[in-house]
Symmetry: C2
Subunit: 156 residues, 2 copies
């Protein structure tokens, strides 16, 4: 069982992000746990590795966990604030808790999740921030592709 | 090239839904087209077939279309109002147009997409309504699982 602290859970997602980076991919990782801290599934972004734009880290972890009827007590941990796609996943399936590694390099839909009753903790973890900061600086075109920004000049 | 009318585009998604039904799955289909009506990718829900809760019809069509930098001129056609997960996909990737077969058996996030500038057309197509009505009546537990309803007594 993974240590049931936000940082202990984040470690699993962070290791997934590192795996993605080592594969030449977008370094974002995620993991889904049950309420007792048992890992249900983990994964990472596979846009580059599988040529699959639909596999964000959260989607990959959700898929790895297999079919379930009830997500209310589950915890989604992700190294980066979930985009609208992944925030929609959390809302639709009623995942009760989200732990976010950081939201400084990208601010997704986690505020919207809070509005809709999800318990969200944002850690602003230094390692997660450094990982994404370096990636975005090195591969801006890949990053913008991954979040659907067709015209980067429109980004604030 | 597919006939560039809402009904012509819907036909591709509807045939995908029938494929899913024939496979014993949740009968929802989708297709992504470019602005000229060229099919980029199509697919259907694969929860049952692949044991994959992350593959809704829209996700499957989006994946089948492969990597792209710009979705603004694309059209997502789906037999059923997109759930929050699939609506989040549309919003995040900036898909400009959504054609919905029907929203009477399930009302997802298409109003939210309109609020965020997506051009949405809801056809209330009789064949799509009949397909989902029969499916929900025959397999309510599978349907509730697919939309993350852990406690069906809470459904209005």
């Amino acid at each position: 069982m993974t240590q049931l602290t936000p940082d202990g859970l984040l470690e699993v997602a962070y290791q997934e992000a590192l795996r993605g980076l080592a594969e030449g991919g977008v370094p974002i990782g995620a993991a889904l746990f049950d309420g007792d801290g048992v890992l249900l599934g983990s994964g990472h972004n596979r846009r580059v590795q599988s040529g699959d734009p639909s596999t964000h880290a959260e989607t990959d972890a959700f898929r790895a966990a297999g079919r379930r009827r009830d997500y209310r007590s589950t915890i989604m941990v992700t190294t980066l604030s979930p985009c609208w796609y992944c925030s929609g996943l959390v809302r639709q399936f009623g995942i009760g808790t989200v732990i976010v590694g950081e939201s400084t390099t990208f601010h997704g839909g986690h505020d919207w999740l809070i509005e809709h009753g999800v318990a969200v903790t944002v850690l602003q973890d230094r390692r997660c921030i450094d990982l994404m900061t370096a990636f975005i600086a090195e591969q801006p075109a890949l990053w913008f592709e991954d979040i659907g920004v067709a015209d980067p000049s429109t980004v604030e």
